[in-house]
Amino acid sequence: MRIELWGELILKDLDGKVLYRKREKSRSFVKAWLHLLYGHITSLGVATPDIGGANRTIVEYETNFQMHGNGGTSYGIMFGTGDTAVDVEDYALEAIIPTGEAAGQFQYCLTEVSERVVAGADCYFTITRRAFNLSGDNITVAEWGLYTRMWAGSNYYMCAVRDVPGAPLLVPTATVLTGVYTLKITE
């Protein structure tokens, strides 16, 4: 059994017509994700960069790993415009697309985490988020990733995954971009 992470980007117009769809294996869990797992496995604090780049000593906590919910640009799936190659020490997207309807902004919906599904030799759950481009202009998405909550005496947020697809994706105005991560174990 091994863990696989798959990422899928789907672009639709506002009538639901699919304009683009691509699914590929992600190779981009970054350092903070492993630190959070370490914190829970050992119950020992470990200095971990938050999404602002400041080191926080994370400890095990109930809300750690949270992705589900209306996390704004704090937790859940995020999109960005930076195209620098992924580094295991990345602590945030390079240039996150802010939330809103002005130029260069996405209207983010909540991130939804499914219940786990067991199907034959696979067990998986999905993390899904939609982002509307209502800015009146094109937005080019060059990176996307996954932020989660982490606890270090109070709530902070960390980057678990950052992906830079091979080619940037042009997201026209009046479209909706959906990102889906599937985390699964498989034989």
């Binding site: 863990i3 370490y38 750690n64 020490e89 067991v118 067990c123």
Partner: protein
Amino acid sequence: MNKEPEEKVKVEKEEPETMQLSYSIEIKDKDGKVVQRVSGPAHSYVRQFYELMSVQAQQAALAGIIDTDGAPQTILAHAYNFFCYAAATVTLYGIRIGKGSTAVTISDYCLESPLEEGTGVDQVNHLATTRTVPAVVGTTCSFDLLRAMVNNSLAIISNIREIGIYMRAYTTKYVLGVRDIVPSLSIPIGGTMSVKYTFSVTV
């Protein structure tokens, strides 16, 4: 002086995923001499590990998670989820070894035939877990979790075929997170078997 060669077994390599787990086993005799080493990629995350992950990610209770006794439990997001840094003698959670040889399936919920704590036949003394802190080397970040088991019984313990990790879940529930089948191993009288799991992410 007659020096017996130390046996080394390397299990197959494979293309790494972004999140990996590997194991390394070292067996020493009572004088501390290494008599056997085995290492390889772990194939071994099982369903409960994933269920804990989904509970934390979703922040919602999940019913029907099978504990190490085979009983379904409802697990909530909790600080204790995944904890397996066991102290000496603890077997409810932590790295365990056993004699079962049935192939791993995603639905395994315990070791098939785990060795219990003690000094009787086929029993071992479980030492405290140790670890390394996460460190980055090149494109990989990793840490180790290590536990040694001592054979203080009066007989060799042979046919050890499985290793795994029991994890704590939602206060006082315990679930199997990882199980691996390994080549047949033996711990000499007075000898030690050390199991190291390496957790890593690679971009």
